[in-house]
Symmetry: none
Subunit: 187 residues, 4 copies
DNA sequence: AATGAATGAGTCTTCATTCAT
DNA sequence: GATGAATGAAGACTCATTCAT
């Protein structure tokens, strides 16, 4: 049941947003009562935290597999990270969407905790960029931090518009974005 | 008074988000009563619509000045559009933030209307890209639509993290992002 | 309306206690809705505070009239204070009952504030006793503080059992208690 | 286990009051689950009843030992009853406090039953007073019933303020109160 | 004896909205 | 233009209680 609640919540949060989704909505969907929800979760916020935590822990783990890979070039790593994020739109779509949007609704403490995780993800990207700069794979004069934000912008924004069943496939999108970032669009 | 309500609302929506800001919050800030609000606006949603509309109408107007400029190259135009969006973080900060976040809280009809405006903004970017492709300023084989989404991602995401009083100035950020997009980060 | 809410609440708190009385109970009794309650009071606790404050402020004022009287002997003052409390069972019955019972349901801050008022009332009694001891009206070796608690016990406990329409009138009860305290029951 | 539940409940009721203590609070404290509680008690109210019953049965038993004593004078008996109640603040503190406060939370039937026990306790005091009056130990014109209420007020009120580790010892308090009642405070 | 899951009625509170004045 | 009072629907959360295992 706990899992069912989590799944349903992810779906509903993804569809209507966190504040717009009431506990009633969640339990009605599952044909159980509010008491059931509160038997499994101490609060709505904690549920959101759990979702966040599950998602980002797994995400960072997969990211670090990429980052610490011995064979990939740094450019490959960036592409792989972009792929990681874009793929999740399909695989964990709603979960990913929830992740990228609802932080503002958390209390200061939880906000802080989540922020740390996100920072780590971002700093991992930054580290790859810096490595690329040193090894001559990337331009030497980049602001690694800003570029990392830029890459996250490109991918995270996709969660707002990308349809996995659209004209462009995930893998194509990965290629388009990674080329745009690595080689630019200028001729 | 209507203007004062609008301004205060933009500020509060920017700070706490749309759903988290109550009409009571707004009128308390202005030392008036709820009746006053409803004298000027038919609903909270309509207020949000007005804010959106004001903002985006002005934004598109400024974008089209750029797009139809006779002197700018297409690359310059893209840079100018990036500058337009980044500058607004400072100039119309809260308003811009509201614009980029609170769409989900609109009813379907209003959502639709806003979506059209946003689409137009995006299609204008797409048009510039296509022009650049034809004129040989940009690579010939780009997916103009996806690239437009990519550019919007980079800039819109900035609203979540960019501090105008930080280490990097707006103009520097514009340069960083436009170089990243036009020439890529690869060496 | 605010007054009506206060009055009804006093009645209901008196009958069923603070926690056992829901806001619903109060507004149902008045044929209004919960919104109305919260238009006039910020919280249930604040309502209780208001009731307390109203009651005790008035009570202390009347007590101090007695305490500072120039003609009364100290013994007369004690009797008058007993009368003050016993009379309130009839006049402000429920209010008095609420006052003497529901402190535990207040938050620490409000608890503190009420405690101060009560302490003042008690210390005023203590002061009268001490004056009586000095002036030879009362035994010289009393623990004024404990006696003050004793007197309060006798009167406050009455709120639990005394019926103003019973066999014993208020004034008779005052006489019985003040004689018991001043001259004792031993022969 | 049943005893452990009872003990813990007494403690918690004493600390936070009956309504403010949830069954969850009780079982959490004991590291068991709610099912366990309901295996041993049919309801929260019944638990309160049991506590009451246990306490008052024992109390009345001890009171009657005093009342029927052949050596004590009636004055001594009153003092002994006062001692009985004051001592219980220390010995059975929480239990006694619960007893003197939470009656209101019982259903009418249980309320009735408790009331009878309390009445008996009070009537026993009244009987002692009447005996004292007849035997010339006490003033002849007392309202024994009201005096009994007065004595109960003095002692029961102590449960609200008396600290056993304070400046005044239990035995001192007994002396103070019994002197106040028997000989009065007037000089 | 004890547990874990579920219930459902109830709690306080919030809030957008209405409307007579 | 603006106010004050009231509404009613909805919100998150609590809790005594039940019951199959």
């Amino acid at each position: 049941m706990k899992e069912k609640i989590t799944e349903t919540s992810i779906l509903l949060f993804g569809k209507k947003g966190f504040s717009q989704t009431s506990i009633q909505d969640i339990v009605t969907e599952l044909h159980v009562t509010k008491g059931t929800f509160y038997y499994h979760f101490p609060s709505k916020e904690q549920l959101l935290m759990d979702i966040h935590q599950d998602y980002i822990t797994n995400l960072i783990a997969r990211q670090e597999l990429i980052v610490h890979d011995r064979i990939y070039s740094q450019q490959d790593k960036l592409t792989a990270i972009i792929r990681l994020l874009i793929n999740d739109i399909a695989d964990k779509g709603p979960s990913a969407r929830v992740f990228s949007r609802e932080v503002r609704h958390l209390g200061p403490k939880n906000m802080q905790r989540i922020k740390q995780d996100r920072d780590q993800f971002r700093l991992n990207i930054e580290a790859v960029i810096k490595a690329g700069m040193q090894q001559g794979e990337l331009k030497a004069d980049l602001r690694a931090d800003m570029i990392a934000f830029g890459i996250l912008g490109v991918t995270n924004w996709s969660y707002n518009w990308f349809k996995t069943d659209g004209e462009v496939s995930e893998e194509e999108l990965v290629t388009i974005f990674s080329e745009m970032i690595l080689t630019g669009i200028g001729s």
